[in-house]
Symmetry: C2
Subunit: 306 residues, 2 copies
Amino acid sequence: MNSSSAPELVIVGSIGIDTIETPREKRVEILGGSVSYACAAASFFVKTGMVGVVGTDFPREHRTLWEKMGIDLAGLQTEEGRTFRWSGIYEENMDNRRTLATELNVFERFSPELPEIYRDAPYLFLGNISPDLQLHVLEQIHSPKFVLIDTMDLWIDIARDKLVEVVDKCDMLTLNESEARLFTGTHSLMTAAEKLLAMGPQFVLIKKGESGSMLFSRESLFLLHAFPLDDFKDPTGAGDTFAGGLMGALAESGRIDEPAIRRAMGYGSVTAAFGVEEFSLERLSSLDRKQIDRRVETFLSMCTPA
Amino acid sequence: MNSSSAPELVIVGSIGIDTIETPREKRVEILGGSVSYACAAASFFVKTGMVGVVGTDFPREHRTLWEKMGIDLAGLQTEEGRTFRWSGIYEENMDNRRTLATELNVFERFSPELPEIYRDAPYLFLGNISPDLQLHVLEQIHSPKFVLIDTMDLWIDIARDKLVEVVDKCDMLTLNESEARLFTGTHSLMTAAEKLLAMGPQFVLIKKGESGSMLFSRESLFLLHAFPLDDFKDPTGAGDTFAGGLMGALAESGRIDEPAIRRAMGYGSVTAAFGVEEFSLERLSSLDRKQIDRRVETFLSMCTPA
């Protein structure tokens, strides 16, 4: 890919240095953050521009890794101070995660600025950052074909109105099932999805972890079984990798219709399944596109009823 | 259907009078049991013969309901004494069930005998009873085309060897994910399925509740998302209804290959989803085939990736 050409997909989100403990292993100060996982996943499909912030302590090797994966870093800011840090622990069967510490550091004053060359990007993924910052990014982009927005319980709790405002300006919202319930105050996912669609987006994607995912539109519903994972090392970033792979595959298709999104969800699932095989970007950075394509074909045929 | 003709599908299992409490409602002494749910589901597709036992106290109205649904009762035994009784309670979000009481009664001395006319049935479903009794049924049937066997944790715990013996004689084994793990002593469902296939059956169907189901063969894997249930009243018998609907649809197709089983799983899911809308057979007995067909088409298209 030509490094001076405009990215087809722009992704904004957090960049962190993570310390992660699982029942089998502990890894200290490894590369993490939603935009890191999402850009790595998307980079298999299209030229992807990263918008995020790191501190002056950010290791050169991480930047080199992103560059090797073909990620455009024109939107990466370096600010005086320490990079955002997060540490967490996964309990016995990996289905519960506890945060041990969060240090916002340079992320606290993050104001995402899009390089001129990013502003005509047709595809935009607003990763999980505050709705204020997501709105600030939306204001800088000219006329994207398709915008996906992710969020989390924190913003639903403390910035609900702003979040509703920005969701209305997006084409697709993605969240997990507990966030969908929290956001709408309803237990039924069908009713929750209706309420979320009423906020404006054309599609709502509810992620249910090992129960798969559901893509809602006003007229239809698509159910995707989870990719059958036999074993995995670190689920951190799986949702971001899923969304990044999805947006990369969708941007590559050049389409924004439901059949294209269904197929792109297959790419997202498979990319995420590869990602959790190792910590950080270790597996994704050693992966090639053919491996993804092969697994997607297998996965989609496993999901096809007849 | 001609009541004197031979059934295409024979199902053996328990018949119970259930008392069920959910967070919203309590129902006393209603019709239950694995063979009741499974035959009701299968009856939409083919002539189905029931093999089970009731006591002399068994209400006439239940028998009439089965007959109205077209179920053949030539294999139904009536023994001196009280019918099997079970009572249980579902906790807050219906995902945990506790048994409050079990009275075996006539079920304790149950010895399933197949009427002559049942012995040439091409399809057989060995519902959840002791492996000894399942084997006894297998010995009476002549040369079935396809035998499905269900089981539960109790038999895995107390009659493992006998269960392994009978599983080997069947074409397909169905169990839920915790039973698959218990039976094989492994956490990974992929490895568990391999071990179960090594016991002899051609197919292993692992049910994962709201995470859907997985159909394993030596060469392939099929993943079916759960039917999206918005609300339900009573999940009792859902697994039996699923398996009964699956076997009914498979028998109707006349086939035993994987594409036919994949499609039959769609029928099983939809029939089970209808069943849990009300207690006992209340919803199934007021349902017609067209409603099932319509919902199956919708469901299968919801599950089709592209």
